[in-house]
């Protein structure tokens, strides 16, 4: 099987995602990067499920994560929208105070 290749792809996706979260200022891009991280994890789950002979648990988890990710993006975008309304900007490095 091509398990190693899947794992490598997952690792690359994860690294890109981490880079995006740390280096990007745009909140929407950060959210997208988080999606990448989650999908990297999904990739790992599927890969290991394949290695275990198509274990259904791995697929189930992946589906579960997709559902949670959708909800997370929903909440995240709503936050971003609110931040934009209040401050006319979604640059994360400007959000350094603990007050609205």
């Amino acid at each position: 099987m091509l398990v190693n290749q899947f794992l490598l792809l997952g690792a690359v996706l994860f690294a890109i995602g981490v880079y995006g979260v740390i280096a990007r200022k745009n909140a929407v891009l950060v959210l997208m990067s988080i999606e990448l991280i989650l999908n990297a994890v999904n990739m790992n789950l599927i890969a290991f499920a394949l290695r275990n002979g198509g274990d259904a648990a791995g697929h189930t988890f992946a589906l579960y994560i997709i559902a949670v990710a959708a909800a997370e993006v929903g909440v995240g975008l709503a936050l971003v929208l609110l931040v934009y309304r209040n401050r006319r900007s979604i640059a994360l490095d400007e959000l350094s105070e603990m007050k609205g």
């Binding site: 981490v18 740390i22 490095d93 959000l95 350094s96």
Partner: protein
């Protein structure tokens, strides 16, 4: 829902779906509560269709009755055609926990079918009666809802396949009896009575829980050891029965303790001797409730429990094997104790209440002396005539004595005014007293007969004494209510006697119902006593007819044994034993032991094992057990007996005895003497005011002491309330107070003083010297770390994220290094 396979082919739709019988009233209960109050009374021509949800209750009971009747017919068909009938079981998993599976289900056998039919029938009649009796009551809807749930609880219990379900039905009834006894809770006495009923029964219920736990766990062990896990769980009643009868010596003491614990539950529920005090107080409820409670539900639940898992008691208390046993003693004591109390009551319902207690004693005693079938038959007959008696008492109060239940003050001479009620009362009284060819005679006489034939001579004597007392107190009650001169309300005098202490129940019963009667047709004019309307008369008349007819199911004197054939468990292949009818068998005036062993020898020839051809009709025989040298031999319940392949030993053999008029004579004589003595006394005392009798209790110290003893109910209530409750609770409270004041306060005060001394020393040495140093030092340390860590708390999200990932990466690295 997975239905487990029953042990034999299910013989019909009604038996297959018997679970509907309790389910219908349970649903009706919810329906009545949900919509009952919104249903108005409807006028159709001359008739008024009552609203308030009462018709939902009646409809559900009729539905149950139809299903139960269908089930009974199918069961009769099935039982007639088989010489071995295992209970037909069907279970659904209710819940699972830790490997223990609790099921709900139905166990169909003669006993449960009999009880289903009985409960559904009596409940239907009582609900119809209540339509009139509770017309205009302020909690009319709730009354019918509770009554319906009550019946449902009893039906759940009698249909129970396992002990957990039995407890479920048992507790449902306990709850509903609490609600119904306290129906008019505005009166303090009523709510106290309902609490008393609830708590007394709860006291016994502890025994039920403990007993079930003991029995079920051991039965589970036995099941596992015998590889029956597929068929049973440990709670299954059939499994418990088989376990008890298997005669495994390692469980001997377990069975005994289980039986004792379970019997304590039966004592509480069925009002047996030490815990009977709640039953008469339960009269505080409306009369239909008393009627239902005392005939077919609630109080017979205890007897039913003993009959249901009879093998546990049979083995555990060694019935037939020893001269006395716990059940027979309690039953026998109850018969006499309660019957004596009935003599000093002035409240007609209390006479009947004590009579019920006494009759329940008969049932228990019957079970205790090995007379299973007569005891169960007594449940059957007793339900009809006792229900009828209570409904008659209600009818009298409703239309004859202006809602008073006081026989001495407000009744008398009602026979002419209320002929239907009078006739029905007399018929059912005669059934209760055991006059030949009335229903009660067949069952009660059989119990007495079996006690003698099974060599329980003491209990034979008690049975006859009980028959004497029963006749005497019923004669007294009949005389006071229906004969003699009218008094008080019965004479048309309507005095307000509600302040009176012991008219309290009657008054409560009356006035809660009465105050709200806006259209109480016949009370508008206070026209004095008159006959009740047909909604009350009809149920009474039906029950009176059954007070005669119900006994014909099992009339040894007429050679009818239908009840025995249908209800008695046929636990092993049975061959017709033609020897039973021959001379000498079961005739106890001569030495019965030889007679029995002769019978046993004969039946041994026929020998168990081979089953007659399927469908072959069995004539009434006495098949199930033999006595030899005072012991049961050869059949279920005997050590070493192994049932044939594919059959199960789930009920002990029951020894039957041939009826003879000679044997019935002592009890008959007791009835006649009781009737004559009591009637003579009543006429002399109440009518002619005989000088030697009137005031006897004031003049004669012995009579006074006896009367006082009975009037105070053997001081049992004093014992419970003044001695036990106060004796335990009050000194306990006082002791706790003393401990509180002297010991705890001392400790606290001492601790306080010591604390101050220690504090002073500590302040100087520890606080000033040591702690301050540490505190100051820690402050400086915190400041230092704070300034060192400050740059990390920049408030920048990306920096936080980088730290997080760096930490995760570090942790992953460590993990990899450690693992490789």
């Amino acid at each position: 829902m997975n239905a487990s396979a029953s042990t034999s082919a299910v013989p019909g739709w009604f038996l297959d779906n018997a679970y509907l019988i309790p389910l219908i009233p349970a649903i009706a209960f919810v329906a009545i509560l949900a919509v009952g109050k919104r249903i108005p009374d409807l006028r159709v021509g001359r008739f008024t269709v009552p609203g308030g949800g009462s018709l939902i209750g009646i409809a559900s009971m009729v539905g149950s009755l139809v299903l139960a009747a269908g089930a009974a017919l199918q069961w009769i068909d099935y039982a007639d055609g088989h010489s071995y009938t295992a209970p037909i079981r069907r279970t659904w998993v209710w819940w699972q926990s830790g490997g223990i599976e609790i099921g709900l289900g139905q166990q169909i056998d003669g006993l449960s079918v009999m009880a289903l039919l009985l409960v559904a029938f009596i409940s239907t009649l009582v609900q119809i009666y209540s339509l009139e009796y509770l017309k205009g009551d302020r909690r009319y809807t709730h009354f019918f809802a509770a009554l319906t749930l009550f019946s449902s609880g009893m039906l759940v219990m009698v249909l129970a396949e396992n002990m957990v379900q039995l407890i479920l039905g048992w507790e449902l009834m306990g709850l509903c009896s609490f609600m119904l006894i306290g129906h008019w809770w505005e009166d303090g006495a009523n709510s106290r009575a309902s609490l008393k009923a609830f708590f007394t029964v709860r006291t016994g219920d502890v025994g039920l829980l403990v007993g079930t736990a003991i029995v079920a766990l051991s039965a589970q062990k036995w099941i596992n050891a015998n590889g029956l896990q597929d068929q049973y769980s440990g709670f299954s009643i059939e499994a418990i029965s088989r376990w008890a009868l298997a005669g495994d010596p390692q469980y001997k003491s377990v069975i005994t303790w289980g039986a004792v614990a379970l019997f304590i539950a039966a004592i509480g529920k069925s009002g047996q001797f030490p815990l009977h005090t709640w039953l008469p107080d339960a009269m505080a409820g409306p009369t239909p409730v008393s009627s239902l409670l005392h005939s077919s539900t609630m109080v017979v639940a205890g007897v039913f429990l003993v009959a249901r898992i009879y093998p546990v008691f049979f083995e555990g208390l060694r019935i037939l094997d020893t001269d006395v046993n716990f059940i027979a003693v309690i039953g026998g004591v109850t018969i006499i104790v309660a019957a004596l109390l009935a003599f000093v009551q002035t409240d007609i319902k209390k006479v009947l209440a004590y009579s019920t207690v006494s009759q329940l004693g008969y049932m228990m005693m019957g079970l205790g002396v090995g007379a299973w079938t007569p005891a169960v038959f007594h449940i059957w007959t007793h339900a009809f005539f006792k229900c009828c008696l209570f409904l008659c008492a209600g009818s009298v109060a409703h239309s004859g004595s202006h809602h008073s239940f006081d026989m001495k003050k407000d009744m008398g001479g009602l026979a002419r005014k209320m002929p239907v009620t009078f006739v029905c009362w007399v018929v059912s009284s005669m059934a209760l007293a055991g006059v030949p060819f009335f229903a009660g005679w067949y069952s009660k006489d059989e119990i007495i007969d079996f006690a003698g034939a099974n060599q329980y001579w003491w209990f034979f004597g008690i049975g006859i004494a009980g028959a004497f007392l029963t006749t005497a107190y019923m004669t007294r009650a009949t005389y006071l209510t229906f004969l003699g001169k009218p008094r008080g309300a019965a004479a048309g005098i309507h005095e307000d006697s509600h302040g009176d202490a012991h008219a309290a129940h009657g008054a409560a019963d009356a006035h809660a119902a009465h105050d709200t009667h806006d259209s109480h047709d016949d009370h508008g004019a206070h026209a004095g006593p008159h006959e009740s309307p047909w909604l009350i008369k009809a149920p009474i008349a039906i029950l009176a007819v059954l007070s005669i007819a119900a006994g014909l199911l099992n009339a040894p004197a007429l050679n009818i044994f239908k009840f025995e054939e249908w209800v008695e468990p046929k636990a092993e292949p049975v061959l017709l034993d033609t020897g039973y009818a021959s001379e000498g068998t079961g005739d106890y005036p001569e030495s019965s032991k030889e007679a029995h062993s002769e019978g046993a020898a004969r039946s041994a020839l026929v020998s168990a094992g081979e089953e007659p051809a399927e469908g072959e009709k069995k004539k009434p025989g006495y098949p199930n057990g033999r006595i030899e040298e005072g012991k049961l031999t050869g059949k279920c319940g005997t050590p070493g007996y192994v049932p044939p392949e594919g059959k199960a030993c789930y009920a002990p053999g029951i020894l039957h005895h041939k009826f003879k008029w000679v044997k019935a004579l002592p009890a008959l004589a007791a009835v006649v003497i009781g009737l004559l003595l009591s009637a003579a006394f009543c006429v002399l005392y109440y009518q002619r005011r005989n000088r030697r009798l009137v005031g006897l209790t004031e003049r004669n110290a012995l009579a006074r002491a006896g009367y006082k003893f009975l009037w105070n109910k053997y001081y049992l209530d004093h014992l419970y309330e003044k001695v036990i409750v106060r004796g335990v609770a009050h000194p306990l409270a006082r002791a706790m107070y003393w401990v509180n004041q002297n010991i705890l306060d001392g400790i606290v005060n001492g601790a306080g003083r010591t604390g101050r001394k220690v504090g002073e020393i500590t302040y100087k040495v520890v606080d000033q010297g040591l702690v301050d140093g540490v505190v100051n030092g820690s402050g400086a340390a915190a400041r230092g770390t704070g300034s060192a860590l400050r740059p990390t708390q920049s408030g920048k999200v990306s920096q936080y994220g980088a730290l997080l990932f760096a930490a995760a990466a570090l942790a992953a690295l460590i993990l990899v290094l450690v693992n490789s």
